[in-house]
């Protein structure tokens, strides 16, 4: 059972995530968009969307630090466990609350504003549900696990994180996850479900984050046909000289 939950399922989801994106990009480049609904409604979006997105950026950043950086590294640079956890909990709480509040505003908007609701696909609804569950479980782990210490103390940096790195290194160690508290297990499973859904939802826009904009020239020129200069081959005797 442990092998199924913490080896087979995660790798299945990861495969779906990778292959799914490849397929989506090949098959549906035209549908690769944020599908913005700002045209329909502006006031709520102006508050909710930045709140949610910046909150999520914080959440993702926190996960990268928490999951990918081994405890030994932070120890090596002299960050004490207490200091680390204080920063992680406070930062995680702020980012998590931002994301949750933003998401609440966005879902309320989606449900109450007529045109936005009509433009919501069933896939959107599924995605919102899974995303909501993932965030809620994550918040629960932070609050219940780290602040209130419900069910005893658990240091995820010695459990979940190690498992996650072993998973990425293709040498998964299911025991580590099997020993983790239920909240962490559910959070991880829900997150993998989200990764499996990812390529088939509007979440693909995450991979279009336009960072190239910072370095490219303002104006883009493109030729209709890269092979030939001008819009057609010159007639005989009219070819370009030099």
């Amino acid at each position: 059972m442990d092998t199924f939950l913490w080896v087979i399922v995660p790798y299945l989801c990861l495969t779906t995530f990778v292959v799914g994106h490849f397929w989506r990009y090949r098959y549906d480049k035209f549908g690769w968009t944020t599908r913005s609904s700002q045209l329909y409604e502006d006031k709520m979006l102006r508050i909710g969307s930045p709140l949610f997105h910046f909150g999520m950026l914080g959440v993702v950043g926190g996960h990268v630090i928490g999951l990918l950086i081994p405890e030994s590294w932070t120890d090596a640079v002299g960050v004490s466990t207490e200091a680390y956890h204080a920063v992680a909990v406070v930062g995680g709480l702020i980012a998590g609350v931002m994301a949750l509040v933003g998401m609440a505003i966005l879902i309320y908007r989606r449900r109450t504003v007529g045109p936005v609701f009509s433009a919501t696909t069933p896939m959107d609804k599924v995605m919102y549900a899974v995303l909501g569950v993932v965030i809620a479980l994550g918040m629960w782990n932070t609050i219940a696990g780290s602040i209130l210490s419900v069910g005893g103390h658990y240091d995820y940096r010695e459990g979940v994180s190690v498992w996650y790195r072993s998973f990425l290194a293709f040498q998964p160690d299911p025991e580590l996850m099997a020993d983790a508290p239920l909240g962490f297990q559910l959070h991880a499973l829900a997150a993998f479900a989200l990764f499996a859904l990812w390529p088939f939802t509007r979440l693909v826009h995450v991979f279009s984050a336009p960072l190239g904009y910072l370095t490219r020239p303002y104006l883009v020129y493109r030729s209709r046909d890269d092979v030939e200069l001008g819009s057609h081959r010159p007639r005989r005797g009219w070819e370009r000289v030099g």
Partner: protein, 552 residues
Amino acid sequence: MRVMAQMAMVMNLDKCIGCHTCSVTCKQAWTNRTGTEYVWFNNVETRPGQGYPRRYEDQEEWQGGWTLNKRGRLALKGGGRFRKLLTIFSNPKMPSIQDYYEPWTYDYATLTDAPAQEHTPVARPKSLLTGKDMKITWSSNWDDNLGGSKATEEHDPMLKKIGDKVKFEFEQTFMFYLPRICEHCLNPSCAASCPSGAIYKRSEDGIVLVDQDRCRGWRMCISGCPYKKVYFNHRTGKAEKCTFCFPRIEVGLPTVCSETCVGRLRYIGLMLYDADKVLEAASTTDEHGLYEAQREVFLDPNDPEVQREAERAGIPQDWIQAAQRSPIYALINRFKVALPLHPEYRTMPMVWYIPPLSPVVDVVKDTGYDAEDKGNLFAAIDALRIPIEYLAELFTAGEVAPVDRVLKKLAAMRSYMRDINLGRDPDASIPEAVGMTEEEMYDMYRLLAIAKYDERYVIPPAHAEQAHALEELATECSVSEYGGGNPEIFGEGSGSLTPLAVENFRMLQDRQTADTLASPADKSARVNLLNWDGKGAPSGLFPPRPDDEEQR
């Protein structure tokens, strides 16, 4: 010198009767699809008026186009790259659908379905966004012919600039139509605003296009364009804009709006310009100098050195010849009667306008004086300061002198040609008074009044070896008509269903099968003819035969 070719347009506003034929044919050709109901690549505005979308010219509000920063360098008015990325989650300057208008259709079925009743049944307006009943309060040309302008004229940003003195005096003396398409600028701020780099300028003919596969729907182009001529397709989540009908241009045909223009007021031709000079011209410190600065960017296609450089830049010989015959070059640089729309946005627009003289003529005529006499017209141009200041706000960033010069040229042409038409000796002093020779004046008259199709549209034709790839010629493999290949996406009735996106595939299906008015729902019983491109018979074109079932 880096020579580039640009397809450009000039519209002679004197001839525009505001019939909206260009808008309608353009819409039929390009934006008759779900998601673009509110989109008019070509629209005709009555001036004075708010325009479409409402008050789009107020750049203090919308922050479109370019501006000079503190160091005197050209910068996007809506903020540079970092600011764009920081506000990417919610574009603070994007117009809402209410600034355009909420698209609607009518509940026509009620007219035939309603049971017998005392009162005539009414087709009620239904929103195309929600499918619910709605109250129509605005549209793309709500203030057509100054309709309701008593209530709305104060919102015209251009009128505001020239002060309160105008108001009603203006309305009594002056009204004209302004057809607008994308300006296909030399320095497009929409392209500069696009985080994905999906908007590009074609290096052959300067047409500005959106790559639909690269667009990610960040919406920065919509707020970046000061003319508000990039639109958001709310169904596909992508930006769309006027294409200058490039499939037609490529085969030497004029755009749909030009082809169908009743007044024959549009001219299309090539302009050669020096791409190295564009930035410098757009950075001209004095707004009033922008019109002249842009004229300086254009190159004389008759100059041998320009021809040599153009050849070196890969511009084919027949394109250079077309540039020499270009009516655009004649109107902009030879006769100097065409002016750019809002040069102060610093985008170097390439759809120019000949300002209207007719309202001035009408005023003179109403006073009982001879409206084609040079003296009377010149005096009227000088006296009617307010309309001319308004035109200057549109075409020369508020500087009156160039507008004045153009109108005097047009007035001089009228009185000079009248002498000829009446069989009198032509008066050489008339062209001289506006700094033209008699021959030039006659040439200008020919171009403005009687130019034929091939003089108004000088578009270098396509070549046979490429013809099969050009979209307007139907020599491509025609399997698509028989269910294979790539079915045309235009019109819901044609071809097979195109999956717009994996995730909204279901939505598409729902829209087409739902029992609401927002989409052609009960297809077996009715069909939206506006969306039908004339190909095939979409189901629902004819009602089902009641006896079909029995016969089988």
